[in-house]
Chain length 206, copies 4
């Protein structure tokens, strides 16, 4: 047929490997099982045997994909904490409030809350997991927050020359600190107090 594109042959260069291909079903089942188990028993009581059994999979099938418990746990955790919307309400105050509420929800949901605890335990023990989390879940959130701040500076709501990392940590640090360390209430009052304080501290100089 004239004008028709050349036959796609999309796999021409893909160099098919011989042998039975890896089961995507097993892959997903393992990750799901790992996530469930981290929530149920925590990172420390997590065992590869339990993951394999729960996933209905042999241990070798797990190790074929992730060479250690760490790498598996890191990916399991990464998988459920991905996209975060960057709000755009027109004001820094509105945007920050919305993002803080989002974060609040995450801490307060027992599902993700328990996971977060396990995560911190895992990061404290594994540099690999720490890096994975930092570049994934944490990085994404920070980038979104930073965008909000940058827009605020551009609009003149925040002073120029902001130390973004400082402001980011001032916004997020208190919540994580309460959650992990003091066990105090992680609630609207805290969120609002933090946002207000930051906005006061970094309002344009005049």
């Amino acid at each position: 047929m004239p004008g028709s594109p050349p036959p796609p042959a999309p796999e021409v260069n893909v160099a098919r490997k011989p042998g039975r291909p890896r089961s995507e079903e097993a892959h997903g089942a393992i990750l799901d099982a790992a996530i469930q188990l981290i929530r149920e028993v925590g990172y420390d009581a997590l065992t590869m045997d339990a993951i394999a059994t729960r996933a209905g999979v042999g241990k070798a099938t797990v190790y074929r994909r992730w060479s250690t418990k760490e790498t598996l746990a890191a990916e399991a955790v990464e998988r459920i904490m991905r996209a975060i919307p960057v709000p755009d309400t027109g004001t820094v105050d509105g945007d920050l409030r919305r993002m803080m509420r989002n974060t609040l929800d995450m801490y307060r949901d027992p599902a993700s809350g328990a996971l977060l605890s396990g995560l911190v335990a895992a990061m404290a023990r594994s540099e690999l997991i720490a890096r994975t989390i930092r570049s994934g879940f944490v990085g994404v959130r920070r980038a979104a927050l930073r965008q909000v701040l940058e827009r605020g500076v551009a609009r003149g709501e925040l002073r120029k020359g902001l130390d973004y990392d400082l402001v980011l940590d001032l916004l997020v640090g208190p919540l994580s600190y309460r959650f992990l360390i003091t066990g105090g209430p992680v609630d609207e009052r805290l969120a609002r107090g933090v946002v207000d304080a930051v906005l006061r501290a970094f309002a344009p100089k005049d």
Copy 2:
């Protein structure tokens, strides 16, 4: 708070237990061994056998006092992070700067830094350990910091009606957040930025 007065001699009615009393020497030796080993090999590679051997003590003697590795580690850490001076430089700014520097040192000292990571892991897993740490090491620091803030309010350097918990978390949260989560620099710049922001945000209203 350190130096609390002795309770009103409750020993009067304390029925002496029969049998050989527990050896305080062994107690201390175990704790010391645990601390050494955490520093040497890390929290994860810590084993009860190694602790017992290093302390020159039978394993039963360890387990008689601490039923799990975590409880032992928690107390070991507690022991080296006790007293904290409440500075009094005459200004909130000076006091806070001094306390932040103190905290900074703690995070930067490899010895206590490594402990802190393990500690958070332990707290995430064990409510008991969490309570121990909160009422000990964390509580002491918060109380000292609060005292500084209260003096600042009294002197008119900070606004009245402060939400102390909020301010405390704004001061301390960013440091712990960087240390545990982002892995960013925990340095003078951060400390100074945090103190300045807090002072600006909570300066007297007029």
Copy 3:
């Protein structure tokens, strides 16, 4: 019924178990290590750790096969005391003498002697071990001895209507009794005395 199908050939349905089969090499290595160690350090100083180490095997591999030290020791002993020839010299007297010498050798060999002591201890404590030993090592010897006696009766060297169990115990009991209880000499003189006494006592009535 003619044309009836062949017997169900039980092996046909023997469902193969999934998973890696147990290693016969490990099995043998453990048994060998156990025997060596019993000989070297005795039954009491025998430890499962030592057996596993000597066999180059994990402890779990040992416990997967033998749930206690006794069952392992029983089988270890069983393994080295298996076949016994049934002599045929033409006379009961000759046959018995030969078998007694064989038994004598067993008691006098330090290797098997030490095992025997431990074995009796184990039998006294465990009905399972007792049954294992009785149906194996003991049973084989009794069957052989009984065959000798039956031939003697057939040849008219022993009286008809023998109580075989009685004669068997008269032949073997004194040796084991000396070995285990009195600690007296288990030697040719004893063996010969026993055989002579039994032949006199059970000679044909006329």
Copy 4:
């Protein structure tokens, strides 16, 4: 002072200073507890702690008297197997039958039977216990039996020049062998068969 009367010392003969009156009482209580426990749980599961607790005594009090578990167990066992009457019915046959019945009773009584099993286990493991048992319980019975045989020889019921040890072992070995090794019936039929065989085998030559 010479000539002066002795100080009144009112309690001197009244027995019992405080703290010490239980000395002999404790001794017996320990032995009794040991015997009970050997019967209940066997020699292997016997623990010094259990003995001390059962006896209402401190462990040190036990070790003050017996330096090891072995020595205590040996004495405990010895204590209940002491005297045995030497019968004198006028004939070897009658005497032996009576003694065999006595032995039979011992094996068949569950109380002493269980103890015997533990005993053999203990002898197999401890040369000290073996010696104690041989010179005590076993020795006494053998001496009694020997006396019976000697009288039989004197009366002409048995041939001269008997190998007493041989005859003793022929009489007693089969019973102990059945009890310990084969698990066969230890009954009147066996006893009678043994006695008859021995009398036939060692009857006077003519």
